[in-house]
């Protein structure tokens, strides 16, 4: 009976205790949430430090060509010595061509190729073009010298080595354009305008 008499009050106390416990947990949860929110606010505080005076200027590569013993350099030139009129089989023309880099950066490779600008494609194909490093151009289209001779074709051909910056040293080539003695008779009275392209390469 005693248990029966005390049972309702115990039940009320237990209910009130559970209610207080739920409130405490809710308050605690709010506190944690507030702390988390406060933490985010604190992380937004920031600061910076800077280093000024970081200026980057790129270098340049600037190829130029010239012709003759005392060349005038330019990005492009029309050769006087390589302009041939009345070229016959077995004949050739030659010229001393200078190449330099007046840019601020050196580069390791140099190539040369030939392009038919206009005129007869068969004649352009038949012409033999060579570049002799450090060669000297002589009468009758002769190139003399002990340097390396490179055949100049439509695909870029490597001229071993590159060019330093600042315009020196200059690389010299004797360029020879020859019509082979075996040239076909159909190539008589033809004209071909060629362009030799020197390229700075990697």
């Amino acid at each position: 009976m005693e248990e029966l008499a005390t049972s309702p009050s115990r039940t009320r106390r237990a209910r009130r205790g559970a209610e207080r416990h739920r409130r405490s947990r809710a308050v605690a949860a709010l506190g944690v949430g507030a702390c988390v929110a406060m933490g985010s606010t604190m992380a937004a505080w920031t600061d910076q430090a800077t280093i000024s005076g970081v200026t980057v200027a790129t270098g340049s590569v600037n190829l130029q060509v010239g012709e003759g013993a005392s060349p005038t350099f330019a990005d492009s030139l029309t050769s006087s010595a390589l302009n041939a009129t009345g070229l016959m089989p077995g004949q050739a023309v030659s010229s001393r061509i200078a190449v330099r880099n007046v840019g601020t950066g050196a580069f390791p490779g140099l190539t040369v190729a030939r392009v038919l600008v206009s005129g007869d494609a068969d004649l352009a194909t038949a012409l033999q073009v060579t570049a002799l490093e450090n060669g000297t151009a002589g009468a009758g289209g002769v190139c003399t010298g002990a340097g390396t001779a490179t055949s100049v074709v439509s695909a870029p051909a490597a001229l071993a080595g590159g060019l330093a910056a600042g315009g020196t040293p200059v690389r010299w080539f004797c360029v020879r354009v020859a019509l082979p003695a075996s040239a076909a008779s159909t190539l008589q009275s033809k004209t071909a305008s060629l362009r030799l392209v020197f390229d700075a390469t990697t």
Binding site: S60, S79, L82, L87, M88, A183, T191, R195, L196
Partner: protein, 151 residues
């Protein structure tokens, strides 16, 4: 356990250093990618053999005369002309050789050299310092009236 956890950090550091070395090594290649071109232009014109000469042989008193011309050869600066005799003088340069600046040859004087009524005119073009190896030739036959000096 502590040293076991630090091993991955060292590995990351090594990888980072290796990446830095690779970046330094890559720098020259980046520089070399800058490029530029320069060009030399030239125009080549071929020459041509002269066409076979046209003209006539004539007979004049105490001699012969020849008047021939030919199509100009591209690039030619002069021509070498030879008159070869006929008959028993075939192959003989009866009047010698002549260098003429234009594409015609007119010899009125002649000689009394007998060449049996026919002759061959040969023309060779000179381009620059080079004689075209193959001359152009044509045989002429004199068909006119025979007068004194002409046989």
């Amino acid at each position: 356990m502590g040293s076991a956890r630090s091993a991955p950090r060292r590995a990351v550091a090594v990888v980072a250093v290796a990446a830095g070395v690779a970046a330094v090594l890559a720098t020259p290649a980046t520089r070399a990618a800058f490029t530029d071109s320069a060009t030399v232009s030239a125009t080549i014109r071929t020459g041509a053999a002269p066409a076979a000469p046209v003209g006539a042989l004539g007979c004049r008193e105490n001699g012969w005369e020849a008047t021939v011309s030919w199509q100009a050869s591209a690039g030619a600066t002069s021509y070498l002309v030879t008159l070869y005799g006929g008959g028993n003088l075939t192959g003989t340069a009866v009047w010698g050789t002549f260098v003429v600046p234009t594409n015609s040859w007119d010899v009125q004087a002649g000689t009394s050299t007998w060449f049996n009524g026919d002759a061959t005119v040969s023309v060779q073009a000179r381009v620059g310092d080079h004689w075209l190896s193959t001359p152009s030739e044509r045989r002429f036959v004199y068909a006119g009236p025979v007068i004194q000096g002409c046989d």
